[in-house]
Symmetry: C2
Subunit: 172 residues, 2 copies
DNA sequence: TATTGTTATACTCTATAACTATA
DNA sequence: TATAGTTATAGAGTATAACAATA
């Protein structure tokens, strides 16, 4: 309890932002971020949202999310693997991977094939269309998405950033 | 969210002879990450999850999420602001901010005070307890959380990383 | 008419238990 | 018994529309 007030009222009868700053000084000073500016996790989260946003925009013509792209990429690089292996590698829980695969399979981007060795497991493989879409996606990501990041940071910084993030992801 | 590491499974020179290890001998070489290793967004997301996970652990004694911590921090640095201003600054939508404030207020960490200037808005302020908890949280974050990141990356790299992430968050 | 806080709602992500069919 | 895929479900997080009080 005890609010220890003193500044309970310091509000301004300002015009909402968007409008003309006609009279008096702008009554909308930006807020102080304080120690938030030094919190790595905070910038990490904001940056991640921005990057995913841009990824979605760049790959929009193919209608692929970052997660779906990562699945197709992994299937292409790891033929003969089953659902559990792919899901685990991407940090996706098996139950949640089912609907994801249903969506990709219904778009004819990949298929589930019952393994002959172990009839419990489904071997995942890209379809022809899946390979085509993945190839186009890779090109869009490289020429639009990553290229834009490169432009903002510079090639050297981009690599340094990637190295540090990978290190955190792997060792922290 | 455990990732069930997979990249650590040593170099496995799979026996060249045919197949059928017949029984035993688990054939589980790590998967190829392929172009995923170069995707900034991928490492960004993975790193963010790790960092938030660690934040939760470090601040566990105070039962504060990163989002809640950021709210308390902002209130402390910006007395006299209303819900919309705080929420907007943190990228939280006003409707979603209501339940969040309810939770903080029910724990007596902050209070809503009707503004006398504009009786539509609620001025937000930390309570005494809120200030105390925030102070403790800051200390935990600095001495445990950020300290651990510093140890992993080194002070110079940590700053470089923060700068690049802030730049992406602000300009990308 | 516009804005603040709010409710209701919905959709995505994530997480856990339990079922089935195989092994 | 244990494992792979699946279902059901619950909880966060996030998004939009709309309403009451106030401006």
């Amino acid at each position: 309890m005890t609010v220890s007030k003193a500044t309970a009222d310091a509000v301004k009868p300002s015009r909402a932002s968007g409008k003309a700053p006609v009279d008096g000084a702008a009554e909308n000073p930006a807020l102080q971020m304080g120690e938030l500016s030094e919190l790595l996790g905070y910038s990490l989260k904001r940056a991640q949202l921005k990057v995913f946003e841009d990824f979605l925009r760049c790959v929009a013509p193919l209608q692929l999310t970052p997660a779906q792209f990562s699945v197709l990429l992994l299937l292409d690089n790891n033929p003969g693997r089953n659902q559990t292996e792919i899901a685990n590698t991407l940090g996706i829980l098996r139950p949640n991977f089912v609907a994801m695969l249903d969506a990709l399979e219904s778009r004819d981007l990949c298929t589930r094939v019952r393994s002959t060795n172990d009839r419990r497991s489904h071997i995942l493989m890209l379809t022809e269309k899946g390979r085509t879409v993945l190839a186009r996606a890779k090109k869009l990501v490289a020429t639009k998405h990553e290229a834009r990041l490169n432009e903002l940071l510079g090639p050297a910084n981009r690599v340094a950033l990637l190295d540090m993030l990978s290190k955190i992801a792997a060792e922290f």
